[in-house]
Point group: C2
Chain length 564, copies 2
């Protein structure tokens, strides 16, 4: 139905721009698009006009008619459509399919709905530029996105989510809340975290570290560059070089910015002789790696060139593997719960055709992954043969407040690096053995995780993360002393507080604090100063009952302790 809607949109565009050249017009998740080569640039004002035409076409209840032509016939039919001619040339068969409705005919395999009337509820959502075939050396076309649903209610719900997603766009919120910035002087995909984001990051990183320590992890710190030798041993220069940056020359030797932390952890392992008594080792690092991404695909915090991964490497004996994987999964879900994410999907990717490691290793590893998923009573999908050549993996997709899914956590076996670095431990039998190794990223990357958090909370961070937790707003200058007294008491309890001491109107101050999404605003005047109380307003606009200051201090301290 969405694909049919794209044909209807194309017919509408053709009726407005008879000279239009057509690219492709597929259906996509929740919608569709079509790429056009038009005599002028579209503006948002064009969309209602196109929508009206589409309405007329739908109302006319035109049938979608399928035909098969020879290539030669098709070439004649699309003689004035250069993009279609290109597509025709690439079809291996001699026969090509077309679909026709009303005045529009398209090269198309289908299928389609029977008539245009079956398109129940639709909406054109936005216009974007798109290179023909996604290649910047080809012409830039104009892409119109639309969406269609079985009824108006579903469409409205979908549009509401899109609207909310726009309001929560992390780039927009990042600017409004002064969280991060980028600069042409620094270069694309490189982020400066401003003080408020720096505060949140410091809180989360410390939480992350303490949770890791409490769960038996240790933390390493490793350099950001390493000699070519290292990346040859690890295989990155063979298999990953297109994601790495050009080398730095130091005294005639090539150093590379690290695209991954792993090789440094392997060397840390090899810095000492290891015995089975030392295992399992659980080594984590918040290491910033640098990976090449084309500037065209960079997107806010979601796709950057500097990526702070919350890596861990678990190095263990074969016997320890089951328990270790189980712990990693449990630990990951625990952390996601703390950040308010309750829903996730689990994907298991298994043995591909081309791989290293023995059959035994693969089946042990896959059994361990499957068993752990089962023990945790999680539903999952299997991507048969979808593992990397070096091992099977579990991926977690996390669902956010808007129901969108984000691929974040990966738990991945690696049979490759232990071989390449010749990692061994002495077993209870006195002989050398090769350990198993699992890579894990939990939050994924700090950059992307922070972007997700921002959108998930819509910038209204829970109290324990809010850069400013309380704004004290004196009604008049004479209440400033009382406000300062509260400030001192908050600070002594580790509560992040600001006093708005400007000579502005109270309502303006409240509005500004609300825009900053500060959880609590305390408005203090004569009454509050007299009986040591506070009048508390939440950022939602809700007014809490007037209460003694000490009682509010307990409330907010509990919020912080409970991470809400």
């Amino acid at each position: 139905m969405r694909h049919s809607a794209s044909h209807v949109m194309a017919e509408a565009v053709l009726s407005i721009f008879p000279e239009a050249k057509f690219g492709i017009g597929p259906s996509i998740e929740n919608g569709f698009y079509y790429d056009f080569d038009l005599p002028r640039s579209l503006t948002p004002d064009d969309l209602p006009v196109i929508e009206q035409k589409m309405g007329e076409i739908i109302k006319a209840d035109l049938p979608f008619i399928h035909k098969e032509l020879t290539k030669e016939e098709a070439r004649q039919l699309f003689a004035s459509q250069p993009y279609k001619l290109e597509l025709i040339d690439e079809i291996p068969d001699d026969k090509v399919g077309i679909y026709e409705q009303g005045a529009f005919v398209d090269l198309c395999r289908g299928p389609h709905v029977n008539t245009t009337r079956e398109i129940k509820a639709f909406k054109l959502t936005n216009i974007a530029g798109a290179y023909w075939r996604g290649n910047e050396r080809f012409p830039m076309l104009q892409r119109i996105y639309g969406t269609a649903f079985n009824n108006q209610k579903e469409l409205d719900e979908h549009l509401a989510i899109i609207e909310e997603a726009k309001r929560r766009d992390h780039r927009k919120l990042g600017k409004e809340l002064n969280l991060f910035t980028t600069s042409d002087e620094i270069g694309s995909g490189l982020i400066i975290y401003l003080p408020k984001a720096g505060r949140i990051r410091a809180i989360i990183e410390e939480f992350w570290r303490q949770e890791h320590f409490a769960n038996g992890y240790e933390i390493l710190y490793t350099p950001h560059i390493g000699l070519s030798k290292l990346w040859e041993t690890s295989g990155h220069l063979d298999f990953y070089q297109e994601n790495m940056y050009s080398p730095i020359d130091i005294e005639g030797q090539d150093y590379y910015l690290k695209p991954m932390n792993c090789p440094f952890h392997m060397l840390a392992y090899k810095s000492q002789l290891r015995s089975y008594r030392d295992l399992p080792l659980r080594w984590a690092e918040l290491g910033t790696v640098y990976r090449y991404e084309r500037s065209g695909v960079l997107l806010g915090l979601m796709r950057t060139r500097g990526i702070t991964q919350d890596d861990a490497h678990i190095i263990c004996t074969p016997e320890q593997m089951n328990d270790e994987i189980s712990e990693v999964l449990r630990f990951s879900l625990h952390i996601w719960h703390v950040f308010g994410f309750q829903k996730y999907k689990v994907y298991l990717s298994t043995h591909p055709e081309k791989s290293i490691g023995t059959e035994q290793m693969w089946s042990d590893a896959q059994d361990a992954l499957r068993k752990v998923i089962d023990e945790n009573k999680l539903e999952y999908e299997v991507d048969e043969g979808g593992g990397a050549f070096y091992g099977p993996k579990i991926d977690l997709k996390i669902e956010d407040a808007l129901g969108r899914e984000w691929q974040m956590t990966t738990i991945q076996f690696d049979f490759n690096l232990p071989e390449r670095f010749d990692m061994v431990y002495t077993g209870a039998d006195g002989k050398e053995h090769r350990p198993y190794m699992v890579h894990r990223v939990l939050l994924g990357s700090w950059e992307r995780f922070f972007g997700l958090l921002l959108e998930h909370y819509g910038g209204a961070f829970p109290v324990w993360l809010a850069p400013v937790q309380v704004k004290v707003i004196p009604v008049a200058d004479r209440h400033l002393d009382y406000a300062r007294k509260l400030e001192t008491e908050f600070k002594s309890r580790g509560v992040r507080v600001e006093v708005d001491d400007r000579s502005e109107r109270m309502n303006l101050k409240i509005r500004q604090a609300q825009l900053e999404k500060i959880p609590y605003m305390l408005v203090v005047g004569d009454k509050e100063a007299a009986d040591n109380s506070v009048s508390v307003r939440c950022r939602s606009g809700e007014q809490m009952p007037a209460q003694p200051f000490t009682s509010f201090l307990e409330t907010i301290s509990a919020d912080i302790a409970n991470k809400v």
Copy 2:
């Protein structure tokens, strides 16, 4: 006297190696050295032989005789000494001074003691290689180091300190305690911090962050690379390029590893309009920068290529400057005290001839620095004209447990970057003003600070920093349950504990825990398990009285809280 001792050493060497060629032989702090070109490599066994000869020369009470020669006469005298001939050529005068004692004559300005007998107590300490003129393109000579004092007692004290410094060498301790490692595969001057050091670093960094937050600082996180444009604006490509690494090419543009964090903080400042109401800003970052150092000068943690600076930039109005500087100094000394450093020296470096900024700015800034030193009643030395071209500064030299001084903290005005980045704020008058800016490093760099800490504590970190704070040692296997019970209770109180559950002899376990410099060892047997008590041994070997477990838990919790 030390310079005279170097001549005596040279005479002794000459008597053993008549064909010796002589480089230079100055006095240095606490000692002297002489560089020789000899027919064979010296070994430590040679030193007593040379010392004995020196003893004979000293006993012979030979006078030091000064003469002046023409250059021509000197050239004849030193005809067989190529290094001396080089030095003679460089003397601008026609007259050159020589000193003669016994069989040895040296090109030398003096002064010297009267006779060799005035050299009271001496010792040759070690042998090292040293390039002629410190340049690796010239021949490698053999350098003998020695030391001399007015009496045997002073000499013995000095030698004891040298011995202790060797025992505390951070490279030796780093290996013994498994704290850090380096690797030829990564490259020189790049450090991997292993789990125990990672733990200490995480503790110190969190302490550093909390102290900064509590003292009104905010924390930024910035990338490790930036476009050439940024380093042109900042002036680094003009004035600092020899310390920077070769560029990385990304899509045809040059990016450089950052040698400093400052330019990123300047851009953070410029990401918003700033008003006088926003100032002062105190922005700190634990940013890892990369600076070129010749591989020959790299030294353990003390001189590395990756340097994690604890930078801060204080941006303020001229009126705020005095208070800000005062706070920076107070804060710095506070932090040093926490780490157990009580003694320091203060150096003030002032207006050099070549500089930027107005006379007013320089005198304001210098007055502020001087005033703050005076207010804190600190003694200081002035290095007249020793400031950088962009501003005056205060340096703190910290004295460690062995009485050695370390240049760590710098508080430095910068009139340059605010100009180059055109930083402004809107004053109360509604006009644009240029802010003052102060750079500060407090600990200096994490690498060097950690090296200093290691040597200062001799690896026996105070309880709050010790990676493992308590080792529980069950006397026999049947006491393991009790040991595990203690472990659980310690962990629930956040105490870092390990149980030595190996089937080894108790004395071996105690010895190993002592070698690991773990603050407390709890040996638990029948008696302890029966009455819930512990028998506590300190790493010093001292035995604490037997006590209830709860009482020890209070003791160690207090240690941690009080940072001892």
